[in-house]
């Protein structure tokens, strides 16, 4: 997926001279995950800016650049380090279009590697999506495949809204073909990645392949689970989810982020409001727990895995 993102950035840099990348260590080093590998060399220091060490600076100056007509793509080095930029993101970036009564748009993309499962030390495995989804005025995207990473990143950069672009870091090394010419799914559309009629299993990012594994296990047992990849966490495509739940009558939602105040709760509320009489079982969530992300020796058990998904699916199917 890292290669797909690199190709996506390269294509955007080629296509639009106004695209500028800004972030810590994104130049010579190519970023700590090498997503910007080679771009400084092929474009320039002006278009691939190795920033001083400050996230408020990265996002704040991206806002100014956007006001000046550029399309900045920020890289935050790790999920846990976006917080110094939170002020710029929530009080400025997310609100400026509204405050200027639509006159000024801020086409800023903020790429953030997110999630755990790579044995990292603290602040390197966080899932901060709910903070952003809770902030009106931002789009929040999270691809799960290389093709989606390529497509969504291009759409995000071309889009005039501010976009928080969450890159599931344990998928960086996952392989997948990218066809730059393939027709892209809409940026704010969820996608059914495996059809089924017994239960709807919704997730996004690094848990999509986990959900597909769980679905494969259940298929062997004769139950066809429909897996939906949310892709856009804000706005949420609840139409696709509701449509699925109307057919299956059951919904399990999974995410790595803590449970309370998470995307799962939001989706559950929407689905029960719109498809209450189609539900045959309570909506269940499989999530990270409401604790700090644990020391890496414990993360394997702590993270939602196939077995926890199966347990929740079983519980739902028992009703």
């Amino acid at each position: 997926m890292a290669h797909a993102l690199n190709a996506g950035l390269r294509a955007c840099l080629e296509e639009d001279p106004k695209v500028v990348l800004i972030g810590e260590d994104i130049g010579r080093l190519g970023g700590v995950f090498r997503v910007t590998d080679g771009l400084r060399e092929d474009f320039s220091d002006e278009r691939v800016v190795t920033s001083p060490l400050g996230e408020a600076g990265i996002v704040g100056s991206a806002i100014g650049l956007a006001m000046a007509g550029y399309r900045p793509v920020c890289e935050i080095q790790f999920d846990g380090f976006v917080f110094p930029a939170m002020n710029q993101i929530t009080t400025q970036l997310a609100k400026y279009r509204h405050r200027s009564e639509g006159r000024i748009s801020l086409p800023v993309v903020i790429r953030i590697p997110v999630g755990g499962g790579i044995g990292a030390i603290e602040h390197h495995s966080e899932s901060p999506e709910a903070y952003f989804a809770h902030t009106p005025g931002l789009r929040v995207l999270c691809p799960s495949t290389s093709q989606d990473a390529y497509d969504l990143l291009g759409q995000a950069i071309r889009c005039d809204d501010p976009v928080i672009f969450l890159e599931p870091k344990r998928s960086y090394w996952s392989k997948g073909e990218v066809d730059p010419e393939a027709p892209a799914v809409g940026m704010d559309r969820a996608r059914v990645v495996r059809p089924g009629d017994a239960l709807t299993l919704v997730t996004y990012g690094a848990l999509v392949p986990v959900a597909l594994k769980a679905a494969a296990v259940l298929a062997e047992e004769g139950r066809q689970v429909e897996v939906v990849d949310l892709r856009s966490l804000s706005p949420i495509d609840d139409d696709t989810v509701v449509e699925s739940v109307r057919r299956t009558g059951r919904l399990v939602i999974a995410h790595e982020a803590s449970q309370t105040g998470g995307i799962g709760g939001e989706l559950a509320a929407r689905v029960q409001a719109r498809a209450f009489y189609d539900l045959e079982a309570p909506v269940l969530r499989v999530t990270g727990y409401d604790t700090p992300y644990p020391a890496s020796r414990l993360e394997e058990d702590w993270l939602p895995n196939v077995d926890r998904l199966l347990e929740a699916c079983d519980a739902s199917l028992k009703h």
Binding site: G30, P52, G54, G57, P84, L298, W302, D307, R308
Partner: protein, 369 residues
């Protein structure tokens, strides 16, 4: 040390020649050179062993401090027991000087804990990975020290200073600059000790600043001192004076110890992507440990030097063995541990999550997947 922060102040040159300078404390206040040498050698061994443990898969990651021992032992040996330290993640030699068990430094990097030691034991706070955050904690702690009346009493057993570490990269974070402003206007007993090791991962110092770090202090209204970070004697002298100033109510100081990160940023980094080995070699020639060793063993060396070095060699091997064994023996956390200490009392819904989790773990998962 009132000199303009231009060339780093130095007394011990790379050949081990000591220049007489009356700013170097003498008598009871002097740095014990043998102790400083021992501290540098042993803390370097901690670093070397940790890298080896990482290579063997015992640690997930290790941020090496190789080359920064002079700055760290200089500062660390100027501490008094009641002073308080707020480190980054690279202050292994300061931790050593403060008396933190080096085995406890390993837990964070082994993934067995998010902390590792009781900060109250040695007045040495937990490592801070979020760049710059700890500088404000130091400020707040210093505000507490002032309110406790533990500044400027003249009683060496009462007066306290706070020592905050930061890297050159941290100079660009807003929080660091807020810390400088707060410390200045309140004239707080805090010393900001910036190890300018020239690199913030792949970003050279020029990405952060067009002036020496120490120069920044004057804009905030307190002194900045530039010192040769590979000269442990100069670092000690500067740190000692700054800490003493803080304890006596004279306010903050920014020390810029000019040094070099000789290893990659961490064991995960590949530094040859952004700098050349030749520059690393140049700095190796200015090694802080070699320098002091040259001074101590110069000429025929004082009587007993060979015994001292032989004892130290043995001590190093014992330390290395203790680290290897201690690392492997670090307690593996229990699946219930993440749920502890989130709030003073575990909320009922979290208790339920924990019970579900423990039942799940105990249930022998993995039978179907």
């Amino acid at each position: 040390m009132t000199a303009e922060p231009t060339e780093p102040w130095s007394v011990l040159d790379p050949t081990g020649t000591l220049r007489v300078d009356d700013r170097v404390p003498a008598g009871a206040d002097a740095l014990d050179l043998w102790a400083a040498y021992r501290d540098m050698v042993l803390s370097r061994r901690v670093d070397t062993e940790a890298i080896a443990l990482q290579r063997q898969g015992e640690l997930g990651l290790w941020p090496s401090m190789l080359g920064q021992e002079g700055a760290q032992v200089g500062a660390g040996s100027a501490l008094r027991p009641r002073d308080v330290v707020f480190p980054t993640y690279r202050e292994h030699a300061v931790a050593w000087c403060a008396g933190v068990d080096p085995v406890q430094l390993l837990g964070l990097f082994r993934g067995t804990t998010l902390g590792g030691w009781d900060p109250r034991d040695r007045n040495f706070h937990l490592y801070t990975l979020v760049i710059g955050a700890q500088t404000l904690h130091a400020v707040g702690y210093a505000m507490g020290v002032v309110r406790d009346g533990d500044v400027g009493t003249g009683d060496p057993d009462r007066d306290r200073a706070v020592l905050a570490f930061l890297g050159d990269g941290a100079l660009s974070e807003g929080e660091t600059n807020e810390a400088f402003a707060w410390a200045a206007v309140q004239n707080l007993p805090v010393v900001f000790f910036c190890q300018n090791n020239q690199w913030a991962i792949s970003a050279p110092f020029s990405v952060q600043s067009r002036v020496p770090a120490a120069t920044r202090a004057s804009g905030f209204g307190f002194p900045g001192v530039r010192v040769d970070g590979n000269d442990v004697i100069a670092c000690h002298a500067v740190a000692r004076e700054a800490l003493e100033r803080a304890r006596s109510g004279g306010g903050p100081t920014l020390v810029e110890a000019v040094t070099y990160r000789r290893n990659p940023h961490t064991t995960s980094d590949d530094d040859l992507r952004y700098r050349t080995g030749a520059v690393n070699d140049d700095w190796a020639a200015r090694d802080p440990v070699d320098r002091l060793r040259a001074l101590l063993t110069g000429g025929a060396g004082p009587p007993g030097v060979n015994d001292f070095l032989a004892d130290l060699g043995r001590e190093e091997e014992e330390l290395a063995e203790r680290l290897r064994a201690g690392c492997r023996a670090l307690p593996v956390p229990h699946p219930g541990d993440p749920f502890l200490h989130t709030l003073e009392r575990m909320p009922r819904d979290l208790e339920r999550q924990r019970d579900e989790h423990l039942a799940f773990v105990a249930g022998g998962q993995g039978d179907r997947s």
